[in-house]
Symmetry: C4
Subunit: 271 residues, 4 copies
């Protein structure tokens, strides 16, 4: 459009990804997020914090100021700022810059503040926005979206199973095995086992308990096939729909032609 | 129908799900079951039981009386009560209320009674009845039902494999490794390994044992693909069948045509 | 046939499964095998062996004599005995009865003889013969047979990967971590990790080791998808081939009709 | 061609696989690589190294000289040597022979040299070249190649998830559980858990930590279905494509028709 204000130009850079400047901004943003998350990680290692603590504190401030500028620009250059401020990514953007400023006000520097500052890690969710550059991502999202109700049914079944199996194991193991000390602990064990994680911090020791555990494992073995089946069938469908052709032959009425077909593959009539 | 007795009205609320009252009853029932199961779980944690034991005992009685009223109404308002009393859910409903009353008669309050009272958790199975609201659940059930014979063959094979692999590991490990103390224990190890759970409470220590264990793991890696393949192929079939059966031949009334059929496959008439 | 000798009659009972007597024999055989394997298992548990050792020894002899009679009958009633004697199941049948007789000759009753007697467990392979009653089993076997070359390629890749990853971990971990004491041990660790079993008896302790381990796990996560994909695509093919119809429409030449089609689904012409 | 120089003959043997001599060379090469890798493995076991160290040192030299001759021949007989020298396999071939010669120059025989010599294991990658004999391998490679962008998206999502889940667990567990000592350690735990490996060297001990861990496991359970679905749908596509492309239109010479096409989809001519 003709009347491009500076807000429009910034909007194009920040929110859109189809101009060179927009792509560059996206890449710079992702790089900053990754670097800031690495800085947070290093700061959490006691030995590194002891030596480079001051440097990491300066880096934290540099990223916080940069992200604050970005946050303000995002609000300023959009027409309806509320649609951004109250969106999932908008709230995360705010949560990731607030704690550093809070640290100035509350001088105590307690443990809880240190924890709140970790909220900055949430910014890493923005990386997934990169996915818009790959059409493969949208197929995956479509397939998962289409299978979300089936996966919900699956999870309900798993939770019911795990509650009952955990209770049974509590009955069987608790008299002799101190690690099965309550039903919630036994349900935790059932989840660890049915998902085939198997930490080994909780394991049955009675013969009957081991027998039931074997059944739980074999059950988990069969159950893991269900989400796999759900996602595969939806994904196959999503891939097929990409190439779907709605053309129907005017002569023999055969449909399901390839997407680049000009003539009917059955009777040869022009489509 | 015209002559709606009070039994018919209660039947409609309790057994059917397509009226607003029926839906409300179902939701209230699921909520009560979840709350009662949470109460049972909390009661099993020693620290909570010590403080809130009396309150949880009262809650237990409240739910028991409510479920008893529901149980009596279910019997009263149905035409053939036996079809409910001896059904899977009917027996579970009875088992979940009986133990609390038994606790009054047997004053000893022994460990066995405490265990029997956990039968109330079984009621959580009723949650799966919610699945009737989602057509996705019926597709999953259809697919699993269709694949049940294949899964049975798969489990027989796994049990035969696990018996032989467990016996081999018993021969190899038992002279030097005390945890492989009998064949059933070694079979338990084989199940833990082939299902990729891997607690680590039993692990081979001899070189030959570790070599055999490696083969068992790689075998388990390939075997896990089989139930996945079974469920996926059945689920793909079940999803495809969803889109069949809608057309019925106007000439011969034959249904179950393929989704892309234009002419009836029996009489050749245009659909 | 007219001249049914007693060999023919026994052959029919032992080798065939489509007569009532044949089915009964099969079921009795499977029951005996399962019972004899349970007896072997119980005998391996020290506490049970101490109390019921003599009884289990008698049961062992009873099953050995029964299986010996069966073995002789199988040889006598078949026309070409060599085809049975040198078959996979024939060798297992012999191996499962020999050790008990060997126990009489070698009076020392050493540990090695005890081990050899466990060969009787191999008989459990016969249970898989039951699969002939289920057509589902043959579909599974067809699918696995068709995918055996792909699975071979997959396993070669896994073995190459595991050798290299194990060697890298040996380089990284061995100076500080005593459990990675040689390359074969490190390869064992790589197999335990890439198959997601994860016993925990061997785990990296250095930071670099844990970083590499993370990559191995994520790799294993993606790799497990390959056998799943192989078996699923073959199984879908095997299921589809069951219903394949070779009829091609004489009018429009469309093929791939349903197996019970009489008219072409595209043009309605009689097939 | 007529003017076959000795370089051409060697080129045919070393680089090509469709002559008997070429196949024989490939098999001999694979056998040498496997034997040399086994020698390296045995050398890493302290007890074997102590007894057979001198023999294994001689074997190492024999293989090094043989592989050096092969390396020189590969360079000599090819027209553009750079295309081999700087290829992936060319660099591995050089890396696998250099360390043994370096051992002569640096007499110190330090730990770092021993590590560098393990580079010879990398040669095992050549085994995968065998895959060219199996057309199944090319289908697998095609399927994985086609799904590589989807798998990249999948891995980005897993890494983002694991970073956030690891940070949350660090916040929850670090005050009471010494094993969650930094964010990178907690991310390692999240990877161990979400891939269902579950070593058990790091496990949550707080109630909230175990609750979050349960969610991570169930998430991992559902997520594992995604790569499985990706590979399966691509593999099904790759297998289907095998049966396409054989028909070429006699009129317009267009190929890549569907497997059930009767008429050319471009010009309508009968195939």
């Amino acid at each position: 459009m003709a009347s491009n204000t500076w807000q429009d130009k910034i909007h194009e850079i920040i929110y859109e990804a189809d101009t060179p400047a927009g792509k560059l901004f996206d890449l710079a943003l992702i790089a900053s997020i990754i670097l800031s998350v690495i800085a947070i990680m290093l700061d959490s290692i006691p030995s590194i914090n002891a030596v480079h603590g001051t440097l990491l504190y300066k880096i934290e401030w540099a990223f916080t100021i940069a992200f604050t500028i970005e946050y303000i620009l995002r609000i300023v250059c959009i027409k309806r700022p509320k649609s951004y401020i109250f969106s999932f990514l908008g709230i995360i953007d705010l949560l990731s810059i607030l704690p550093t400023y809070l640290g100035l006000l509350i001088t105590g520097q307690g443990h809880y503040l240190a924890i709140v500052r970790l909220l900055r890690v949430l910014r890493i969710f923005r990386i997934l926005k990169l996915a818009q550059y790959l059409k493969e991502a949208s197929i995956l999202v479509t397939a998962l979206h289409a299978s979300k109700r089936k996966i919900f049914v699956f999870f309900c079944t798993v939770i019911v199973l795990v509650t009952i199996l955990g209770s049974i194991m509590y009955i069987v193991e608790s008299p002799t095995n101190p690690v099965f000390k309550s039903i919630p602990h036994s349900i935790y064990w059932a989840i660890v086992t049915i998902t085939t994680v198997g930490y080994g911090d909780m394991a049955p020791i009675t013969n009957l308990g081991r027998f039931i555990a074997s059944i739980v494992m074999l059950l988990g073995y069969a159950i893991i096939a269900v989400p796999s089946g759900i996602v595969t069938s939806e994904l196959t469908q999503a891939v097929k729909n990409q190439f779907t052709n709605t053309k129907s032959c005017p002569n023999c009425a055969h449909d399901s032609h390839e997407h680049d077909a000009i003539h009917c593959k059955v009777c040869g009539h022009k489509l």
